[in-house]
Every structure is written in C-alpha cells, then in structure tokens.
Symmetry: C2
Subunit: 283 residues, 2 copies
Amino acid sequence: MTWTLPEQRPGREAPPDLLERRALVGGGDDHQVVADGVTAEDTDVGGVACVVCSPASPARTLLYFHGGGYRLGTARGWCTFGSKLAAASAARVVLVDYSLAPEHPFPAALRDAITVYDAVYADGSAVYAGGDSAGGGLAAALAVACLQRGVAVPKGLVLISPWLDLTQTAATFESRAETDLLFSKESADTAADAYLQGHDPRDPLASPQFADVAGFPPTQLFAGGAETLLDDSLEFAARVARAGGAVELVVAPDQQHVYPYLAPDSDAGRAAYAAIVRFLDAG
Amino acid sequence: MTWTLPEQRPGREAPPDLLERRALVGGGDDHQVVADGVTAEDTDVGGVACVVCSPASPARTLLYFHGGGYRLGTARGWCTFGSKLAAASAARVVLVDYSLAPEHPFPAALRDAITVYDAVYADGSAVYAGGDSAGGGLAAALAVACLQRGVAVPKGLVLISPWLDLTQTAATFESRAETDLLFSKESADTAADAYLQGHDPRDPLASPQFADVAGFPPTQLFAGGAETLLDDSLEFAARVARAGGAVELVVAPDQQHVYPYLAPDSDAGRAAYAAIVRFLDAG
C-alpha cells in the first residue's frame, strides 16, 4: 500500500486585508540581519523555495517552518532568527517557503514540508524539524506524516508556541483571551478556515494533537503563559510523553505567543534560545 | 485568622518489614561520598535534624527532601547526591531528616519542612525547595502551605519524580505497571496509608495535585517515561502553567522513577543534573 497525502484541492483568492498584512510582514524581509559567520542563501529544494542559513561547519540540519497562521510569513523574514540559531548551534537552518493559504489550502504546506524533508534526508544529514505557531504545527505534522509513511522521523522537534489543534477548543482560548495580544480565537478560526477550506480539522495531518504519536522523536516545546495556545503545548507534551517519547517543555509565565522569536533578547527569549541550541547540539 | 496545620495525631508502630527496609536503605548512609570542595555537617534546625552540604561560597539554599514514600530514607543517605549538587551549583543543600510514617503520620513531615523553611528563610537566604518522590511531594506541599499561610513561597521548586497525588488514580499507575521497577500502585497505596492513616488523601497539603497553585514559584519537574508517577508530573506541570507559573518539564523516555538520583551517571541523569544546576543558578 502506498501512502499518499490527501488530494490537493484548488484554493481561493487571498482577501485584500490578508494581502495587506502579507505586505506589512514582508516589509521586514529586507531588514533581516544575518548572523556573523553564517551565510544565507536562496535555494530551491525539489521545487520548494528555501533560505539556507549555513554556519562554517554544519553538523546537522534544522528544517524550520515560520509562523503566520499558514497564510502569511516568509522564509526570508525569519533570517535573523534562523541565522542566529545556525551561528550558535552548528546546525544548518533551512527556512522553508512553504505554500500559503488560502491560495494553497491543506495539504499544500505539508506537501512542501515533506518534499524538503525527503530531499535533505536523502543527503544523509541528521535532520531536525521545528517551527513557530502554524510552523510548529507543520513540523509536528511532518513527523506524523513520517510515522504514517513508515519513514524515519526527524531526529528531534523544536516547537515554539505550536498550533497543534485547529478546532480551537482548548480552554486557554478562553482563559487567555484577555492576555494574548497576538492570536485570538477569532484570528485562529479565520486562519484555520483559510487553511482547511472544509477539510476535517481533526485530521492528524492538520492537527497533530489528534495523532497517534507513538514513535515520535524527542520533542522540545516552548509556550508563553499569556497565550491562547498554551494548552496546545501542555496537552501535546503530555501526549508525546504518555506515548513513550522524550519531552522538554518550557512555559514562560506572562510571555506572549512565539516569545523566543519575537523577544529573543528578553531573559525568557535568551533562555529559550540557549535551550534550543542545547537540544540541537545534544543530537 | 491564624493558619494552623491539621492537628498531629499519634502514629502507629512500624511493621517489621519496614524496619528491615529502613535498615537496608540506611546501610548506604556510610557509603556516601561528599563531593570535593563541599562540607557535609549534621545540624539541628529548630529541632529538626539536617545534613547541610556547603560549597565554599554558597549564594543560595536548597532545602531537599529525600524520597522513600514518607516512611524510609535519611538525610545522610542523600549526601552524595546533595553534595554533588552543592559543588556544581553554588547552592547550600540542606538535606532534611523529616519525621517518618507510620510512627509520625501526616502532617508531621510537613511540620518539619515548615520549621526548617522558616528558620532558613529568617536567615535571609534565597531558599529553593526540592525533593524526589515523596520528598518532591513534600517540597510542593511546603509551597502550598506557604500560599495558605500568606508567607513567601520558595524561590523555585525542583521536583524529581514527585508523588503529588496520594489517591493513586492517575492512568500511568496502570499504563506503567509493567515497566516501573520501583513504585507499584500497591507500594504507593501502602505508603499512602502509613502517611495518611485515615486523613483525606485529597487534602492539598498531602496531595498538592489538588491545590490551588496560583502564586506558585518556578517549578522544574523530571519524570521517567517508564514510571507510574509520570502522570503526577504531567498533570502538575499543566496545573502550575495554567495558574500562571513558570514550568520546566523534562520527561526522559524509558527512565525509571527518580532516575536523576538513582542513575546520575547515565546520559539522562547527567542532563537532569545540569538542568537542576542551571535552574538554581538562574535565580
């Protein structure tokens, strides 16, 4: 039996407000600072655009999926973050420009993730996967797809405020509604609709929270105490641990969504950075 | 209103098999190795016997409560572990010889913990609390008591395979029954009975899993993937995080109960040790 992804469906046009937000977020692309000792290079991996941040002597590879609710964000826009990680950890960081919704609904992003993973894995590199927010969900979905396909899972997962359950039924969507400044239930519902376009939100390839995670690799999770996605991390950490996996969970009180990415110079951000480097370098 | 502990009730005699086990465990007391650069001294703190492991220039204090189901174990027997931590972290480690059950049922151990905490806190030292197994539960109960009393909580909690719920209803008592070599449900039930002697196991001062943990200090937890108490850690980590606390949770797959204490030279044990040192030194 050959495993296949669910069929790719046609998407729909991006609404004007999303195009505006993309332009705004994209405005940061040219202001990225590539860390000393690292080169950042635009590359094509099996048809998927990537930015590869390479330290002098890379010992492993981290595929990194940016956040943005599956509907915005770019690889180029994560260069400061990715290159800093590459500089500190001896990991080559491959920032993946996966297809965005609503033009490219589920499973387009996952298909791109699998394409890049397979190509890098074929190179013989030790491959980690990670991401923030939707990108964290995508990294976890990639691992779920590996299990389903019967191929090697990534060596480890680095999940920063991952969005793992696209039903938005977690209690912290209510309890953190007032404190989360970035990702409201309404915003999550809109993003989920753009990505799923009618597809079952409980499909484990869209919402890894519903996956059988037996065989999952070591999984590192970061969540902010103020964010609506706190429960996504708490529940997934427990899920992976109960299935026999290695888990490292950090909850930083009062911190916002994707704080290691957005506030890298805060105490919590620096601690998260150091933990990610340790996690990657332990492998 | 003055806060008081539940009244101390008379205990009962220790059964012969427990006396034998205490003697066996106590046999290790004379074989403890005090780490280089650390002095280990028998002291009396407010009537409670302690062994104080002091590095050359202690910057903070960790009150540490040994494991043994509230019914066995000694401060002296934890000297290798405690002095190694003192040597690596610049923390003075105070190993507490709290009263044991069944001769001294709940709340005797907690009363001793509070006595030592208050005395060390009055000294002006930054005080952390920690422990393994029942000792981890006791450290958490100490923090709960601080909240109830309206006094400062410890600066942080280091909980190694903490026993936090004396009802033994967690699912991992079943799912890990075959893999846990150290702490079966039967053993936990016996120990809980010796400690509680009819007291409500859902009293948050006996089972912190049932406590209101709003205001809890940063809490670091370690659990082995093979152990029955895995759920105690997973659920408590989520509880503290949802209440707004800082959490650091490590689950080491296939590891046994209190692995950082019992297997300090394994990869997982070394990683746990390093994480504890980082946690203490961050304060």
